[in-house]
């Protein structure tokens, strides 16, 4: 123990006196701080936007309540009442939002890109791009906006490579290692101390930058931060073990650097792409273009059957038939049509989210092969945007939309419209059924990999004896 402390002190001094190490740490820290500030601000903007939209919806319902109260005192006008209910029922402000979790700052832009706000409607929300799609510049999406978790997943290994490469090989090239071998009884401990100092420095900078990001986001939680720090520790463990492995062979320092870079390229770029390919082969994503054809078939069928659908609706809901109206026109004639159309389109659209969730499940199981991917997926869970939660969100929105329609459609079809009391009792989206999942359960494989790699380093420490 005493020896280890001495080694740590000596390695610490050696580390701090090498200016290149400090430059690497400074560059790493600077980039992380920039990304943290950007991510924190993006998360803060998003949460503010949620507040504004909630206020808009409040204004819309207030106005509708006032109009309903005024209509109650005016002569009854069923068509007008039905239209008012229909207008509210398809309002752009009727948003069912996926609540962001405490770790939103880790994948803030990714969260926004994945349509976290779906508009429920008495019309079909799937046919209208304005209901679900996100407005974004494709150029920025293509370049990859610097979500904090992604930036960290890419840069942390590079910082470690920068600090660790040539750790033993360079000493060998300079003839120092021969001296070290003769003077140090435990070369493994020496390498361990050097790696520990470097891993500590890198993870320290990463934790501080993360703390900054979490502090800027007013919705961040301590539990998310603690889980994220755990993810960072595991991630650093894996990369430290890889750096330790690359220090063992008797390569040149240049070859060691190229080897480490090669590993980084392979696990950061090639492995995720390969895993995505495997996942897509196992669960092929249906074609969005084919979905257009299927959607139009449903639209056309419903359009052709409009009159029959209206008759069928009244036949099934005799209590909601208003005897004052024997012939019907828009919007009443359209509502059963939208309902029929959605019975086909909704499962079709859900199948994309379903396949995506299954693909990500496959990838998550093998994500330990790409530590960066595992970290990004863990961050998605902490942000609340992982695919399985998104699928549960889509299901919750569909249930909410059913309740929304069950409440509004009879009032439209029966020409009753909405009373002021009805507007107060409008169904509300309850996001409680879609809790965020902890990323830690998915990280155990990565932890296992890190420990195995570390075990190999320990087992092969005898190779350090080569002068």
């Amino acid at each position: 123990m005493n020896l280890m402390m001495q080694l740590l002190r000596v390695e610490g001094l050696r580390f701090a006196r090498n200016r290149v190490n400090l430059y690497v740490l400074a560059a790493f820290g600077l980039l992380l701080v920039v990304s943290a500030v950007w991510a924190g601000l993006a998360a803060r903007d998003y949460r503010a936007q949620v507040q504004t939209q909630a206020q808009h919806w409040g204004q819309v319902t207030d106005a509708a309540r006032d109009a309903a109260a005024a209509a109650a005192n005016a002569p009854p006008d069923g068509a007008k009442n039905a239209l008012a209910a229909f207008t509210l029922g398809r309002s752009d402000h009727a948003i069912a939002r996926l609540p962001a979790s405490g770790g939103l700052v880790l994948s803030a832009r990714q969260f926004e890109r994945l349509s976290p706000e779906l508009r429920v409607s008495v019309e079909s929300r799937h046919a209208d791009a304005r209901k679900n799609d996100v407005l974004a510049n494709p150029l920025l999406d293509g370049l990859g906006v610097p979500d904090f978790a992604t930036v960290l997943a890419l840069l942390l290994p590079l910082a470690l490579i920068g600090l660790c490469y040539g750790l033993v090989q360079e000493d060998r090239e300079q003839g120092i290692w021969r001296l070290v071998c003769t003077q140090c009884a435990s070369l493994g401990s020496l390498l361990g101390a050097a790696l520990l100092i470097r891993a500590g420095a890198v993870v320290g900078v990463a934790v501080l930058a993360s703390a900054l990001a979490f502090l800027i986001d007013p919705g961040a939680t301590l539990a998310s931060f603690a889980a994220w720090v755990a993810c960072l520790l595991v991630y650093t463990l894996v990369w430290t073990a890889i750096a330790g492995l690359c220090a063992l062979p008797a390569w040149s320092s240049g070859a060691a650097a190229i080897g480490m870079l090669g590993i980084w390229l392979a696990v950061s770029f090639v492995t995720p792409a390969a895993l995505a390919w495997v996942a897509n082969t196992k669960d092929p994503m249906p074609s969005r273009l084919d979905a257009i054809v299927a959607m139009r078939v449903a639209q056309q069928d419903a359009e052709v059957a409009t009159d029959d659908l209206v008759l069928a609706w009244y036949r099934d809901h005799p209590q909601d038939r208003n005897p004052a109206y024997t012939s019907h026109t828009w919007p009443v004639t359209f509502v059963p049509r939208f309902l029929a159309q959605d019975q086909v389109v909704r499962p079709l659209m859900r199948s994309f989210d379903d396949v995506r969730a299954r693909q990500l499940e496959t990838m998550e199981r093998a994500s330990f092969l790409s530590p960066g991917l595992a970290l990004a997926m863990g961050a998605d869970r902490l942000a609340g945007i992982d695919a399985s939660r998104y699928l549960r969100y889509v299901d919750a929105v569909n249930r909410h939309e059913d309740a929304w329609r069950a409440f509004l459609v009879p009032r439209i079809m029966g020409y009753r419209g909405l009373s002021a009391d009805d507007i107060v009792r409008l169904p509300r989206f309850d996001p409680a059924s879609i809790p965020a999942q902890s990323p830690l359960s998915a990280l155990w494989r990565l932890t296992g990999l890190g420990l195995v790699l570390l075990g190999i380093v320990v087992a092969c420490r005898g190779r350090l004896r080569r002068p």
């Binding site: 601000l41 407005l135 930036v151 273009l289 359009e303």
Partner: protein, 485 residues
Amino acid sequence: MSASMMPAQAGASMMGVIVLKELRAMLRDGRLYLLGPAVLLALCALLLSSANTHLRQQDERQSVDAQTRAQWALQGDKNPHRGAHFGVYAFRPALPMAMVDPGLSPYTGQAIWLEPHRRNMSRFSAAADATPASRFGDMAPAFLLYAMLPLLIVSLAFNAVTQERELGTLRMLHSVGVSGVRLMAGKLAALMIALGGVLLPSLLVGGWALARSGQMDADAWARAGMMALAYALYYTVFAAIALLVSIRVQRSRQALFALVGLWVAFVLVVPRLGAAAADRLVSLPTTSEFWSEINRDYQEGFAGDGNLAARGRAFDAQLLQQYGVARIRDLPVGATALRRLHRDAYADRVHEVHFADLWQRYDRQQQIIAIAGLLSPTLAMRSLSMRLSGTDLSHQQDFESHAETYRRDLSRRIDEWDSASTRGEVSYDDKYGNNALWQSISPFAYAAPGVGFVLRSARLDMAVLLLWLVIALGLLGLSARRLQP
């Protein structure tokens, strides 16, 4: 004459010797044997895979286009306006070069729904279904070309001078009178020849894949040629930078360190920081803000135009006066369709203002990123590559504006037919449109703009890339002149 030729001939001969020596050294070193075939294999695999995907998507697009057209043309008896609302889809054809660089295609959406009253966004982007793997880079041939190939250059060239210095051979070369400029020119030439050797087979594979698409015309070959030239310039920039760093630092370790740092900055950091800066400096409206503002301006009208109801009353009055009748129902033409034409003309104006503003914002964001290209040749090359592949924002804008022109024309022609076929006010439930009407509308046809369009829109990117080339070669030349053992 012969005397004056001698130094030049000697110089050329010396250059040849240096190039040969460098090539031999590279071949003896394991790096080229290890990394070259790996890069070549990866590039060929990506090219073939991308070509297959491109052909499959092309077939699928054509098939779906034909199906949606048939759905439009055979929708049967309907109210013309309801038929128009069924709408058509515009699918953007991909240029053959898109198989090399899909660029923004995964993010721009695959189709636009064209319907009356409103201009829709392009929808169904592949990125919506992408896995988190895409966050680390889209595995396309272009990604390998602009992001990974520079690493091959770095790994081949980082110790080009430092090793000579460490082994003492630089001093020997200096003592026999080899000038630094010739030495560097030889090393640069050898590096580019080695790179050419690695890339040439993939160029043949790429050419074969392009030719197999059946879409290659003179314009497409011109684009391909320009892309090859642009990449050659880009790699020259990286090779010059690698040699420059190798001259400026004392040891190979430092050179590798600095070059990997530069690669990280050029490929990973600057593009993301550029995107972040553009995102923060030029904000975009949210989806609901964008559509709400369009709706507000349509309902309330621009300053001085009056609201929707007032505009409608004024139009009705004009109609009554024009046809000399007292009631709308007495009009000899279809008033419902004429009213719609009038309303839609205003809606088109409103959409145009808001979409122009949106595209201006995109454009300003793009300019910020182009400025960031001054800090990274990769950014300029990437942008140029997307433009030449027809997968950039300007090609998307061109497609969307053509689709919008078609949408307005389709809507107007249906309404004009409607107003000519009816009288006064008509119920929305009357079905007097039929297949003959739908089939009278010609299908949407779009041809991407030619290479001249690319040259105009890519001026800034080309200028930035050339600037990088001039600066990199200039600094390399200056440093080579002062090269000391």
